[in-house]
Each structure stands twice: as C-alpha cells, then as structure tokens.
C-alpha cells in the first residue's frame, strides 16, 4: 500500500508536469526537497534525544508505572472478557501509557505482547472482543504529547512549537472516546446479528 502511494505521487506529479509545463519546478523540487528533508531529520534529533532521555528517567523512577496503575480500573471495565489478574492487563497499561507520551517505539512491543496473550486466551483465528477494543484504542491515537510534530514545528521556526499540544489533547480525547463508543456499538450489533442467525 505504502509503495503504491509513494510511487504514484511521484508518477502523477511528473506526468502532470509534462502537460502543465512545470517540469522546471519539478526538477528543482527533487533536489531541494531531498536537502530539506535531511535538514529536517537532523533537526529532529534535539527534541527526540531530550524527550526520550527524560522518559528513560521517568521509566526508571516508576512514574510511568504509577500513571499506568491509575488507569487500571478503567482498563478492567474496558476489557470485561479478560480474567481479573491476567498479566495482559499490565501489557495493555504499558502500551497505553507509552502511547500517551508519544513513545511509539516503546508502545509497539508491549502491544504485541498483549495481542499474543489475548490470542492465548481466545484460541481462535478470529479477532476477540478484547483485541478489537485494544485496536480501537491504538488506532485512535491516544497521544497527548506529539513529540515529533513539536520537533518539526521547531525546525520550521514556529513562534510557539508546543501551542498545538492543547488542540491535540482535546482532539485525542474526543476521538478516543468515540473509538470506545463505536467499539461498544458494533460489538452489540454484531452480537444481535449472531443471535438472529442462530
């Protein structure tokens, strides 16, 4: 999918330029944009080093764990199918907390562990209710501190790179709540359909 998107953006651009007479601009853009993308990536280093460094301290000081524990009662309610003291609850909490702090790289391994355990619980090739709820949470974003975006804004000389944290938080909260509601809604629709067909 990514391959098709990537190639077709360039292909459409070049073909369009043939008829639009903008080949000069395109030619220039290829070289200049590669240069600016490198500058951008190098500029990201400052924020990423700082933020991940701080998060390392937070992790060792058990701050992430403490925050994760606050979410425990909520996680239990969201996943009624999971046995009360199953380790998967811990994996889910770590995944959610890492996402909230914009640590995508730390979130994924924990998330995959959670999926593996949920599969052991369901023993089926069909997605279980808990898995879908977990995916609803993950695809809705959950991010409260969008580190990379802040770094990009800084790089292009924003007066206030962090001013979008507020809007990001509101949007994330609304979309995550919608994800949970939609997940519940479709679960019940699905169950009604199954009951009828039986």
């Amino acid at each position: 999918m990514v391959n098709i998107i990537w190639a077709s953006m360039a292909i459409i651009g070049i073909i369009y330029a043939m008829f639009n007479g903008t080949m000069g601009e395109v030619n220039e853009a290829i070289i200049e944009s590669a240069q600016s993308a490198v500058t951008l990536s190098l500029g990201l280093i400052s924020v990423l080093v700082f933020w991940i460094g701080i998060m390392k301290i937070a992790e060792k000081a058990n701050i992430l764990k403490a925050i994760a524990n606050l979410s425990k009662p909520m996680i239990r309610r969201l996943f009624p199918d999971i046995p009360k003291d199953d380790p998967v609850i811990g994996y889910i909490m770590s995944n959610v907390t890492a996402n909230v702090f914009g640590l995508g790289n730390a979130a994924t391994p924990m998330g995959l562990k959670a999926m593996k355990r949920m599969k052991e619980l369901s023993k089926s090739a069909t997605a279980s209710r808990s898995m879908i709820t977990f995916m609803a949470l993950n695809t809705s974003g959950l991010t409260l501190i969008p580190t990379t975006v802040i770094a990009i804004r800084m790089q292009y000389g924003s007066v206030s790179p962090t001013e979008i944290v507020g809007t990001t938080i509101i949007t994330t909260v609304i979309s995550t709540m919608s994800a949970i509601l939609l997940d519940r809604l479709f679960f019940h629709i699905d169950r009604m359909k199954n009951n009828r067909s039986k």
């Binding site: 990537w6 700082f50 701080i54 999926m115 997605a127 979008i164 507020g166 979309s175």
Partner: protein, 176 residues
C-alpha cells in the same frame, strides 16, 4: 483560549519537574539515565531520515507539478460548502493509510504554509492526534495470525473520520 495556550506551555516543563524531583528523591543516576535514553533518540532520528527524504521528495514532486493545487481547486467548491478546508484533504486521506507518508505530508505542509498558519496548526494537530489505522491493524493482527478482524477496521476508520473532523473544529475554535 488563554487557558489552552497556558496548558500547552506549562505541560512539558511541569512534567519535567515532576520526573526530576521524583527520580532525585529516589537517588537515581538521573544524568546517566538521560544520556542512555538520549542515545535511543539519536537512533530514532536517523532511522526516520530515509523515510522522510523519500516521502517529502515524492510529495514535493506532486505539489510543484501543480497537480495538488489543481485537485484542490477542483474539489474546493464542494468542500467549502461543508466548511472543510480543501488544502488539508490530501493529508486527511493519507493519515489512516501510512504513518510515514502522513508525517512527510505534515512536514511539507508546515514547510509550505508555515508552522503558525491555520493550515500548519491544523496539519500538526491532525498528525498528532490519530494513528495509522491500517498499519496498526496489519502489524498487530498479523503478529498473532488473526484471519478475521470483524468490525475492527470499521471502528478504526470511523474513528479517523471523527478525529479529522474534530481537529478541524477544535483548531478553528481555538486559533480561528
């Protein structure tokens, strides 16, 4: 409006303060831990580099050819009717499909329109507030060989639509 700007400005320094106080109280080697984590940050920035170069070049070709503007000109009368800013549509369409493509597009929009413009703020919020539905579903379900994902895709994509519309409303209300 003032409240949101204050929260946005205070949240990171305050978090930093809490982390450092807690860690120092526990007598942790804060500086050494920071450096250890920082190394991972360097790696992350370098591993992003080829993705960003690839995506940004491809998007810039499309934009500089005039194709994006032509597309936006074509659909903007329809979208304007719903109050949807047409310039954001390419990002909104690509956001659920590919993380690196949308990160590249967000960077390119911030570069073209400026980080403090309406579109720059909107792109930033949109990029930060939702995740790549198709990628997440493929990786997670793929890792445990789930063949039928039932209503997971429906929930994910509907949430993306809600997230995109919400970000437009929120950014318009707060930054106008």
């Amino acid at each position: 409006m003032g409240v949101f700007t204050t929260i946005s400005t205070w949240i990171i320094p305050c978090f930093l303060l809490i982390v450092l106080l807690t860690a120092t109280y526990q007598r942790l080697p804060t500086y050494e831990l920071f450096v250890e984590g920082g190394k991972e940050g360097v790696q992350m920035a370098f591993s992003l580099l080829p993705f960003l170069v690839g995506m940004i070049v491809s998007i810039t070709i499309l934009r500089s050819s005039g194709a994006i503007d032509a597309f936006i000109g074509l659909i903007s009368p329809v979208l304007a009717f719903f109050g949807f800013p047409a310039d954001i549509l390419p990002l909104a369409l690509i956001r659920p499909i590919s993380g690196t493509a949308s990160l590249g597009m967000t960077s390119e929009m911030i570069m073209t329109h400026g980080p403090d413009s309406f579109l720059g703020r909107l792109a930033s919020t949109m990029q930060g507030s939702t995740d790549t539905t198709l990628y997440v579903l493929t990786i997670y379900f793929g890792s445990v060989q789930i063949k039928r994902m039932k209503y997971a895709l429906k929930v994910g994509l509907l949430t993306d639509i809600i997230g995109i519309i919400t970000s437009i409303i929120v950014v318009t209300l707060i930054f106008g």
